[in-house]
Amino acid sequence: MQVDHGVKEAALATPGQPAFLDSILLRVGLVLRALALPTVFILVWQLAAVSGYLPPRMMPSPVKVAETAFDFVLGNSNSPGAYAFSGSFAKHAWVSTLRVAQGFSLAVLAGVTLGLVLGISRTIERFVDPILQVIRPIPITAWLPLSIMWFGLGHRATLFLIFLGAFFPILINTVTGVKIVDRRLIEAAEMLGTRRGQLFYRILLPAALPSILAGLRIGLGFAWVCLVVGEMTGVGTGLGSAIADARELFRVDLIIVCMLLIGLIGYTSDRLVVYSLRRALRWSPTLFR
């Protein structure tokens, strides 16, 4: 292990410094670099707002957006135009996150199961795949009226749309994941004495897992997209419905705040998915970061 040690030493910015301090500095460096461009953008934006280039109705200044954000999250009736949204972030965020969680879980269950079946059985695939390929390109917005008619205005319609949005990426990536399993791995497993029943969860599943994870992440992203569409079915609560209401009240600042918050929560949920499968995928050289 001499070689490894040497490599590690070379990678340290200041050799001799303890490794953990260096990793903290590395993290700080990464965060600073991530914040650099947004900071520049916000400064330019504020300048444009202050100097009168941006009509305040169309695009509020970052300061105003920040004020609204604080009010939305923390609730502070002193702000001018205190309204029903004050402090309601928690409620809306919770409802939205719950919907995504439920819709996404259903999509994972259905998508991975069906994906595994289709990936393994060419016969079943020949029967089922054509229908799926025709349904898949139908945009979620086109499903909106049907969803409302079937499930009525409200929670269930939203769930259905979220489910639809997440289902197809998960399905397709799972099918692909199973199909691209190297034939030789299966042959090696058979040669070593693996019985047919064991092949599935011993070989196919672990081998397909990286693709499945990719599908989960893409599906989750779509789930958040469909959340906003779905919450415009008139559910009353949720960050998406808040955007719809804010639009009617011309509260552009609130729209932006909700969008940013959805982005942040979405990012967190993606990290959660990646983290939860990290142990099962630690062997992969291209582990998703």
Binding site: E187, A188, M191, L192, G193, P206
Partner: protein, 273 residues
């Protein structure tokens, strides 16, 4: 399942007039890969199979391994017809085919583990093999962290853990650089010396075939059949200086000419412009 009461004087592996056709899916057309191939492997014999590219050497191995069925003819191990793959015929692939989600140690113990053998029976053996393949300290590493030569050693250990009576190796050192290949050949022979068993070794490297083998078969171009069989009367253990002996060179010349004639017959690149 293989019965283990071999009739004395029968070879360990017997390929009798093997023919193999591959049908193109959705058409009536067939490719004849193998035509009337016959060879034998004795219980403690390394047999090397040589031939031009595409002649079907790997197909022969795959039929013996049980991954493919014979279209005509038969393949017998210990007098029993081969019906499918099994741990009695260990296969080492050119691309290793290690399970990437398992550590080196878990790969090596996969065979006994999947057959539900109790841990005590294979733990010590696995540890021994890790030493034999020179990978101590790498037990918890994953395949992608290893070099090609190291991975191939893991693949061999994984197969040997099941005490196979036949070793099937399909160009196992083909993807390695010349130095590593040479080291691996010596290592393989040294190990084989300690527990000799029937082995079929596919290669396109004539030196390797003669150096390793007790007997060498040369195949024709596709459709493949056996063109030449040559016994290598070099004593064991083999040493590197045998590679440049007169005897070695004579065999090599004969085999090279034979292969060259096959390659030319199959329409090779022009050498005079």
């Amino acid at each position: 399942m293989m019965q283990h009461n071999p009739i004395p004087n029968t070879p360990k592996v017997e390929v009798r007039r093997l023919s193999k056709m591959f049908a193109e899916p959705g058409s009536v057309k067939h490719t004849v890969a193998l035509s009337d191939v016959s060879l034998t492997i004795g219980p403690q014999e390394i047999v090397c199979l040589l031939g031009p590219s595409g002649c079907g050497k790997s197909t022969v191995l795959r039929v013996v391994a049980g991954f493919e069925q014979a279209s005509d003819g038969s393949v017998l191990v210990d007098g029993q017809v081969v019906t499918g793959p099994g741990p009695d015929r260990g296969v080492v692939f050119q691309e290793q085919a290690l399970f990437p989600w398992l550590s080196i140690y878990q790969n090596i113990i996969y065979g006994p583990k999947i057959r539900n053998q109790p841990r005590e029976t294979y733990e010590a053996l696995a540890d021994q093999f890790i030493g034999i393949v020179g990978l101590r300290g790498f037990e918890q590493h994953f395949p992608h962290e290893l070099s090609g030569g190291m991975k191939q050693r893991v693949a061999i250990a994984r197969v040997l853990m099941n005490s196979p009576e036949v070793l099937l190796m399909d160009e196992p050192f083909g993807a390695l650089d010349a130095q590593t290949r040479s080291t691996m050949q010596e290592w393989l022979l040294a190990f084989w010396q300690t527990s000799p068993r029937a082995a079929l070794f596919i290669t396109h490297d004539v030196d390797e075939a003669i150096f390793l083998g007790d007997r060498v078969y040369v195949m024709t171009a596709r459709p493949g059949s056996i063109k030449l069989e040559r016994t290598v009367n070099l004593p064991r253990p083999r040493t590197l200086d045998m590679l440049t002996s007169h005897y070695f060179m004579d065999i090599k010349r004969e085999i090279l000419n034979s292969i060259r004639a096959e390659t030319n017959a199959a329409g090779a690149l022009p050498l005079v412009f």
